[in-house]
Symmetry: D2
């Protein structure tokens, strides 16, 4: 994993990226979905409890994760925070190939005031995310009362380009009333934008994961029923973005441009010259390798087989394979 | 999060640490449990599929995580890999305060050959872990047949100092028969070491999380029933190590050595001079602050309240508080 | 279990009760919550898929369950179905002691048109239930268009006496739009009636449990995400009604009116004459019985101990115990 | 639902059957799996806590359920209880068609001493069940010490005809040591009989569902981790027996012997005469009915459509359809 940090254009605005490693053993993970996290804090702070712990939860699901610490307080006059979010989106999309991200699977996830910003990005942004996740979001214009600056009511901005949305909120929330989420759901319904919404009866504002690790040590911040939101959310994302491929053995053959250790055994086996070379170098593999092995690059197989080929012999085999011409069928 | 990498004494042996950030908002997370991950690969390789994805899963639960890439192939003559694991344990324990780790809550988690090494560390190691997690482990001496070097049968080494153990395996495992786990469970029973064990009927060897992201893209590596092992495991760990505290408001008062912004509001409020100073500086807080706020350091409260106090006034308040003598009751 | 069937006043209206057995081994189950199930079917039928399978699901959670097959078609002119539901409620409340039901823990659970009827009972009924469960309910007056008779819009009828409510719906529902549930949630919010609501994006109308057994054999009727509604619902009910007591050992002593085999060992042990009699009859019990046994009636203990006392000796011990006077402390 | 009670040959031995209703709306539920429940109680009693609550849990999953109260105490000399279980199996298999049971999907589920009996039936019985479920079972011959009569060690009886097995136990069990389950797992492994086994570290003997409703009101009988056994078990059963069909629209056409209201719309629609008759009687159905409707019998569709056809017209349509000759393709 790499942890990257970028200073964005506005003062004190940073984007932190958590990027999972790629590996030849994980050929199905070259295009991960990503999530841009916008912590809450009333446009006066960015809560640590809604930052790294959320990023870790998404990384465990195989997502690339980013945290944006956006403009606050006197710097938070709208649309400045929106501009920060737009800049972050653009940075992620631009680097998507380099960072193993699927460029059409970038979600934004905001909490409280960060939910307002996430909804603004999803309804008004120059570069909209592909899915929207809202935790106890500020939606209504009247929420401006608790912010340092007035903000637009984002329920008014929902259009048919707003991405599929996931919302959770608690009925008990005294600081940001549940009517905020209901108003956004109404607006989505009118625009026929599909959404999933979970309203739990109990639980205070600002629960984050609603688990002990995000509780500040306060029992009132642990709510097992609300804590279900995260697995409900990742199930929803899997339906929106699709699951990581686990059917590579059934996928249409990628076109092979050149034979080498990086090519899957199945493709090499179809060429008699390649097959003979491999059997000569490592007879242990046998005439009929295990079907599961057919979807695995030869180099990975050799690595696992351990010391069957030393580095020198591996290089020789690679060179020999590269000299065999690819004949297209 | 910080990602650290250490070269250990033996050639090509590295320890990678993933260390979650601390935050004044998470005062209950100063002593996290940690897990040392030992990937499998027949003592010929360390599988990437059993490395970073496992670390991420534990980080999401609030653990600090470490991956040891231990001695392999011709370097793997026993006890050399055990020495690597002992060195890693010692490094973690030595840095536990610095890395926000509870020094008596360090688990080891090994898969396949890494499970052999984890069990060896837990039964023969100079520094035993506090909990042991085994995924489809090699246990029996006869498993030496598939390794580059002979290894001891670790079922023979179980003693009453062996830590509480969690095991999962599949009945279908052709490479490492389920009898390995049954033999270890028998040995634990004889020594009265408590364990949790889950044997699932279907699923091939080497499933890691048994989810698409660790499947190499092969459908045979996705088994939803086996994938339950991870939540069963973290539930078990919570019972072994305890949950992160979420009752700070009920904890015995820490002794206050000096008043400051770092002290919890509840402790400041008990001293009338502190209370007056705070009310003067930020009357918004009111005579009777919300009970939940009492467990939170004043500095965090001010940070959340946003621009109620500018930096200069904050420093003034801190200085004034520090001049009030602490009277012990 | 007993299955009872009652013909109510209106023609073709029946109430079926499924009543779990009581047992001296389950002293904490004498006052079970109950649920009155109202299947859907457009006021033209009562779907079997929303009847017995729902009852079974609640029985497994320890609830008593009832199915009302209410007035349909030309008989369904409002308020006739409401009168059926009121009559069913009254019958259940009247028999609550006899049927081991807690008289203030009676929920109503309706689907589609049955959801309309459940909401009507909960907002307009002469005898309101204590909790309301709505599955893809018809709420709005405009739903009259698909019914044989016009019905009132029940969102208009919500008042502060409406019980706590659980709602689930799918965004995809073409027959009963999700705006029905949103309107009811808005009305509950205005009246400050706490609710839990889950809106899932995919899934057709009439999913019942959304599992294969209620699917009619159609794949479109199986939706694993929607199937989560039932465990979400029973978790909610546990929070509303409380869990079955599992702390009888800590409960204030019930007053003993007479010693006998029906009295808990702990109460008998406090009286030296009882203790001597018991030890004489069954010395195996020992001077210091297991603490868990103290919360169990002596008769149950003897039953489990098997043939330690034959029937005759049991009766003798019972008679002897009854002759010992109870002295109140 | 019907509740049936049978007196079996031996004195005081009863079989109680809980049989779910069939319905034309549930055409995929005509062959349900069944489970025969054998409560525990040391061959001295049959615990109510391991009887009806277990039956309800399986009924909620769509199973037919049976409770056998077998020979006890002086009547429990082996093989008398085994004979009871064999008689129960035979009774269920004989009535399987009548009771909507799949004759090759009958499981037995026993707890403690009932687990001994279940394992005996599965290894020595004249009519073996198709799956075996064991809760904290007595297995070893040495368990005879706590029974009124000696019993054979059933681990010695495992053969290759023993059905697939599910086992759960707690390490903490003082009354029936976990070595009982480990010995049975070893025997299954040697015979290559696939099994699933879950051993939880904490929890006393006799937990039943490990939930409040089976706790006798004692907190020591509630163990959330152990309570997972039931969903683990039903997931396992679904893999052993298969899920209820939810692909009737894709199934090979049943052969139609005679057209009528009981025939699926899809089959009627293939015959032009039938199609014309139906369109004439109920033009609302339209030339191109919804694809989902094609898998539903016409009579069910009419029932749902409500008053589109009165009883007389329904009978007329049925009679007309029956006069159309079936032409086999």
């Amino acid at each position: 994993m790499k942890v990257l940090s970028y200073d964005l254009s506005n003062t004190n605005v940073t984007l932190t990226g958590y990027l999972l490693d790629s590996s030849p053993e994980m050929p199905n993970m070259k295009q991960r979905p990503a999530v841009l996290i916008l912590p809450g804090g009333g446009y006066r702070a960015c809560s640590d409890r809604e930052a790294e712990p959320i990023a870790m939860a998404f990384l465990a699901e195989g997502y690339q994760a980013f945290i944006l610490r956006y403009s606050l307080n006197q710097d938070a006059a709208f649309p400045q925070p929106l501009n920060d979010a737009e800049e972050a989106m653009k940075l992620i999309r631009t680097h998507s190939a380099e960072w193993d991200i699927h460029p059409q699977k970038i979600a934004v996830c905001g909490f409280s005031a960060g939910g307002h910003l996430a909804a603004a990005l999803s309804t008004m942004g120059s570069d909209r995310p592909d899915a929207l996740i809202l935790g106890y979001p500020c939606i209504l214009e009247e929420m401006s009362a608790i912010f340092p600056n007035p903000v637009p009511g984002v329920d008014q901005k929902v259009d048919h380009l707003t991405p599929p949305t996931f919302i959770f909120h608690t009925f008990d929330d005294k600081l940001v009333p549940v009517s905020n989420s209901l108003a956004f759901a109404d607006a989505l319904t009118r625009q026929n934008v599909p959404f999933e919404m979970h309203i739990f009866p109990t639980g205070t504002h600002g629960l984050s994961l609603a688990r002990p690790q995000t509780s500040m040590g306060l029992i009132s911040m642990v709510e097992p029923s609300v804590a279900q939101w995260f697995s409900l959310c990742t199930n929803w994302m899997t339906r929106v973005f699709g699951e990581f491929a686990a059917d590579l053995e059934h996928l249409p053959e990628e076109e092979v441009l050149e034979y080498s250790l990086d090519v899957k055994l199945g493709a090499l086996w179809k060429n008699d010259s390649c097959k003979m070379l491999i059997l000569a170098a490592m007879p242990e593999i046998g005439e009929e390798p295990h079907p599961d092995a057919m979807g695995v690059p030869l180099g990975v197989i050799i690595e696992y087989a351990g010391d069957v080929l030393n580095e020198e012999k591996k290089m020789q085999l690679n060179d020999s394979l590269r000299q065999i011409p690819v004949i297209h069928s």
